[in-house]
Every structure is written in structure tokens, then in C-alpha cells.
């Protein structure tokens, strides 16, 4: 049910994910952020079992920060992806983590990049990718409509088309999505696409 997808454009990379926290038929939360900001120029979109997802992504985040503290320079996206994949692979035959990851980052000199990391530690460097039931609808759409060096407007348009398609065709479609972007100015939240708004408390 969890949909995570993303693509690389001209000088930026986008990761979008649904924001439902579900337990069998119950939706506990519709605004759970599943795209983690790893550091200033990296995004980590993760889907999978709830405990594993949070624990593993936080573990990766803390290790990325530790490297920066120890060595004074941040890890590159490629290095982060290989580290993540290595952790998944080491744990695979003992206590596998059930997390699928899309890692996107921007490196000076290299530009934007995106890595697809599976729960069984498959890793590919890709231009566009998707996880979850939404991938059945998004992958072909992105194959058809994507071209290299898309502008931000074109890319967001494609992401929106994917979201609409998921909402139209997936039987238990998640109502809300979050879109995050990473470019030379850093990793940040771009937009939320909400079709169900929950009343928010002024204090919380």
C-alpha cells in the first residue's frame, strides 16, 4: 500500500511518498512523513514495515552525520547508497530489514543522482523509480513521459500525474502525498498533496 517514487531532473531530484500509516484496515495517521532528510543535500524515501522503516532510516541518518562530524566533509550520495546497501546486505541473512529505499542526493560536480535500494539489498543507480503498489501505475507512466533534463515544472507535473493515477486506479489509494526536492540549494520539502485534511490542534 505504501507508494514511494521519484525522478531525476535537470539539476535536481524529486522523491514523493504517500503519508498514510496503516494497520490492517485502520488508518492511524494521514500525515506521516516517510521521506527523511538525511543531511543538507540528501533525501531518503523509505517504505516497509513501520518499525524497520523508522529504525533503519534513523540508523543510516545518524551514521551519515557521524561521518561528517568525524571527517569534516559530508558523504557523497554514491557512498551513502553503498553504505546503506551494505548494511541491508549484512543484516539480510540474519535479521533482514523489510525496507525499500529511494535515495536521492545532489553532489557538487556530479549533480543530482538517485539510487534504488531494495529490501534484499539490490542497488541500482536510476533516473526514475517507484516502490509499492503505486509502482504498477507509475513506472510505465514515467517510462512514457520522462525525458532527461526535465525542468522543475515538468517534473512536478509528472509527479502529479502519477499521484492522480494512483488515486484513480488503486483500490485502497492513500489520500495524501508529500513531495520533497533536493538540488544545489539543499534538500527540502516542496509540497503536500492532500485530499483529506485532518483538523489540526493549535498547540500541537
Amino acid at each position: 500500500m505504501e507508494c514511494v517514487f521519484g525522478l531525476v531532473g535537470k539539476g535536481f531530484a524529486i522523491v514523493a511518498a504517500d503519508t498514510s500509516a496503516v494497520n490492517s484496515i485502520l488508518v492511524h495517521k494521514s500525515n506521516e512523513d516517510k521521506v527523511m532528510v538525511l543531511d543538507s543535500h540528501k533525501l531518503l524515501g523509505a517504505s516497509g514495515e513501520p518499525g524497520d522503516r523508522v529504525q533503519f532510516t534513523e540508523y543510516i541518518q545518524k551514521n551519515v552525520h557521524l561521518y561528517q562530524f568525524r571527517n569534516g566533509i559530508p558523504l557523497t550520495t554514491a557512498a551513502t547508497a553503498n553504505f546503506t546497501r551494505g548494511e541491508l546486505a549484512t543484516a539480510l541473512r540474519k535479521n533482514p530489514y523489510s525496507v525499500n529505499i529511494l535515495l536521492a542526493g545532489y553532489d557538487k560536480g556530479v549533480g543530482p543522482s538517485m539510487y534504488y535500494i531494495d529490501y534484499i539489498a539490490t542497488m541500482h543507480k536510476i533516473e526514475k523509480g517507484a516502490f509499492g503498489y503505486g509502482s504498477y501505475f507509475c513506472l510505465s507512466m514515467m517510462d512514457r513521459l520522462y525525458h532527461p533534463d526535465m525542468s522543475i515544472e515538468e517534473a512536478i507535473d509528472l509527479i502529479d500525474k502519477c499521484i492522480i493515477e494512483i488515486r484513480t486506479r488503486l483500490v485502497v489509494a492513500p489520500p495524501n502525498f508529500v513531495i520533497k526536492i533536493v538540488d544545489q540549494d539543499g534538500a527540502r520539502e516542496y509540497a503536500w498533496r492532500e485530499s483529506i485534511k485532518s483538523p489540526d490542534v493549535s498547540m500541537a
Binding site: A21, N23, I25, L26, H28, K29, E32, E49, P50, G51, D52, V54, Q55, R93, K94, N95, S198, P199, D200, V201, S202, M203, A204
Partner: protein, 327 residues
């Protein structure tokens, strides 16, 4: 004789288990895991051998007539057969018994608990029924656990698991206070519990709890479960009756309610859940957590609430019985 020795060797293990010192184990599977280098056939043989070893040697208990040839035995069974009894269930195959025991516990979290944040703090409410399958074992279980004077936890799932781990969490919170000279935040407390539960993943703990409290940042509410999930939110309901409670709670919720309105909403939501869900019932307890800590607001029996919300109406009689006219 053999049996006695076997039993004694088991007994010698028990004194070494002490619950007073507890540490969260690292996330590794039990030690008898077989390495992947063996092929499938070898692995299967090993499994068989291991399963055989767990079976008790019951040859000493076999009745006398088994040794006698069957022709004679049939006639003499009634006269000479010594009294025999069946071994209790589970003795023959401990592994399978343990698996089956775990399955019976998996009948879902039979309860209804809810909690929500509003402008005046947090309201926490729960029912009080404990059920074992179709049997109601208690109607007066305390499902709202007081971790410390400003934090509450709710119980859903295994009662012992919830009680023990909330108590343990209370200990850890107090240690944090002593070590850091300030109260622990609700975020910190829920993360402590979530990490412990994550390290016990897959080992059969059944806990679906909400940690509600008031800290320096204001009211806080987290949902933590034994699968390892931890969610921050404004409204949660946990248990088999939770969909029913969500229906009433979501409809009546407004962030700017007064404490009385919020109290009534929580009570109503639990009542409706107990009405429809067989595994929920008993007494509705409602607590309020404010800036000065928690306070119990009410504890009402749901059957009394039923007649309060839906008082008995005199129903019109359709046909009245009259005496037959004398002939």
C-alpha cells in the same frame, strides 16, 4: 527413573532466571539457528533430530499390558491393566506446544482504548474488559497505567506485557530525571519504549499502547506497538473496538472543545465501541492530562451509560389480551 533425572535437570535451570536485572537483547535470533552452508536435506535431518530430542522419554509410563502379547491382553485388560493416565498436553512435543500457545494469544487486542490532544491537554479513555477467546475473564481491569504523575500509558494486547513494560518505562523515566535533573519528554519516553519493543520484535510480545503526557513542549501523544511502530499524532484509538471508537471520535472532535465536552466525547466513543464489540465492556475510565499532570475524571459502567443515553421508552402495545367473554 529416567524421567526423574530428566525432570531434575530441567529444574536446575530455573533459579538462574532473575527478573530483577533486565537488559534489552540485541536484535539476534535464538542461538540454535542453523548456518546456511548446509543443504536442504541435511538441514531437514537436523531439524528432525532436534525435534526428537525435545520429546520426553515416556517408555517408563507405558502400561503393563503393552508388553504382553495382544491375544492375552484383550482378555486380561480389564483385570490386570494398571491405572494409566494421559500425559498433559504439550509434554510430547515442546516446540509445537509453544507454537500453539503463541497462536492462541494472537486473537488480536480485545479492548478499546483511545486518546486525543485538544487545546486543553490530552484526554485518555479505555474500557475495562479482559477476555480469553469467548470467556470474559474480568470486567474491572485497569487499562490506563500511570507511568508517573504527568504521563499515562494505555494497555491493549497482552496485559502482563503492557503492565511490565510500562512499569519498566516508569523506572527508566525516573532514572532519566535523576541523571539529568529534568523530566523526560513524552517524545523521549515513547522512543525508549519503542526501542525496547523493537529489540524484542518477533518474540511474541503483544503490546499496543499510547503514551500520553504533558512536557515542556505542551501535550504529547504517541502510539507505540510491539511490531516496532511509533507514531506521533493527535488522535489514536487502539484495540478490537477501535474502528467503532474512531467513528464517534472523528465525528465529534474539535480542537477547541472544553474539558467537559472532550470528556463526554471520549466516554461516548468508548461506550459505542463497547456496544458493538464483544471484547470490550465493563467500565469506561476517562483521564485528563493537563499542565499539572493527569487527573481521573470518571469511571462509568457501560450498561448504566446505555440506559442513560437511551432511556427505556414505554412501547405501545399492539394487541391487548382480554378475557374471553363468558359464553
Amino acid at each position: 527413573m529416567l524421567l526423574l533425572v530428566f525432570g531434575l535437570s530441567f529444574l536446575s535451570f530455573f533459579p538462574s532466571l532473575s527478573l530483577s536485572q533486565h537488559f534489552a537483547p540485541t536484535r539476534t535470533k535464538p542461538h540454535h539457528r542453523i548456518s546456511v552452508s548446509l543443504n536442504l536435506k541435511q538441514r531437514k535431518q537436523r531439524e528432525e533430530k532436534r525435534r526428537m530430542m525435545m520429546k520426553l522419554d515416556t517408555s517408563g509410563l507405558e502400561s503393563f499390558s503393552a508388553a504382553v502379547p495382544s491375544a492375552m491382553a484383550a482378555a486380561e485388560d480389564q483385570l490386570f491393566a494398571p491405572p494409566s493416565f494421559d500425559l498433559p498436553a504439550g509434554c510430547a512435543d515442546f516446540d509445537k506446544f509453544q507454537m500453539e500457545a503463541k497462536q492462541t494469544l494472537k486473537h488480536a487486542k480485545g479492548t478499546t482504548t483511545l486518546a486525543f490532544i485538544f487545546n486543553q491537554g490530552v484526554i485518555v479513555a479505555a474500557d475495562s474488559r479482559a477476555s480469553m477467546g469467548g470467556y470474559i475473564s474480568s470486567q474491572s481491569v485497569k487499562k490506563i497505567i500511570e507511568i508517573n504523575p504527568y504521563m499515562l500509558g494505555t494497555m491493549a494486547g497482552g496485559a502482563a506485557d503492557c503492565q511490565f513494560w510500562h512499569r519498566n518505562l516508569g523506572i527508566k523515566c525516573r532514572l532519566h530525571e535523576l541523571a539529568n535533573k529534568r523530566r523526560i519528554s513524552v517524545t523521549g519516553a515513547s522512543k525508549l519504549l519503542a526501542n525496547i519493543l523493537y529489540s524484542y520484535r518477533g518474540m511474541g510480545l503483544s503490546i499496543g499502547t499510547m503514551i500520553a503526557g504533558w512536557d515542556e513542549k505542551g501535550p504529547g501523544l504517541y502510539y507505540v506497538d510491539s511490531e516496532g511502530g511509533r507514531l506521533k499524532g493527535n488522535r489514536f484509538s487502539v484495540g478490537s473496538g477501535s474502528p467503532y471508537a474512531y467513528g464517534v471520535l472523528d465525528n465529534g472532535y474539535r480542537p477547541d472543545m472544553t474539558v467537559e465536552e472532550a470528556h463526554e466525547l471520549a466516554r461516548r466513543a468508548i461506550y459505542h465501541a463497547t456496544f458493538r464489540d464483544g471484547a470490550s465492556g465493563g467500565v469506561v475510565s476517562v483521564y485528563h492530562v493537563g499542565p499539572n499532570g493527569w487527573k481521573k475524571l470518571s469511571g462509568d459502567d457501560v450498561s448504566e451509560l446505555h440506559y442513560k443515553y437511551y432511556p427505556v421508552q414505554p412501547t405501545p402495545v399492539e394487541h391487548e389480551m382480554v378475557d374471553a367473554p363468558p359464553a
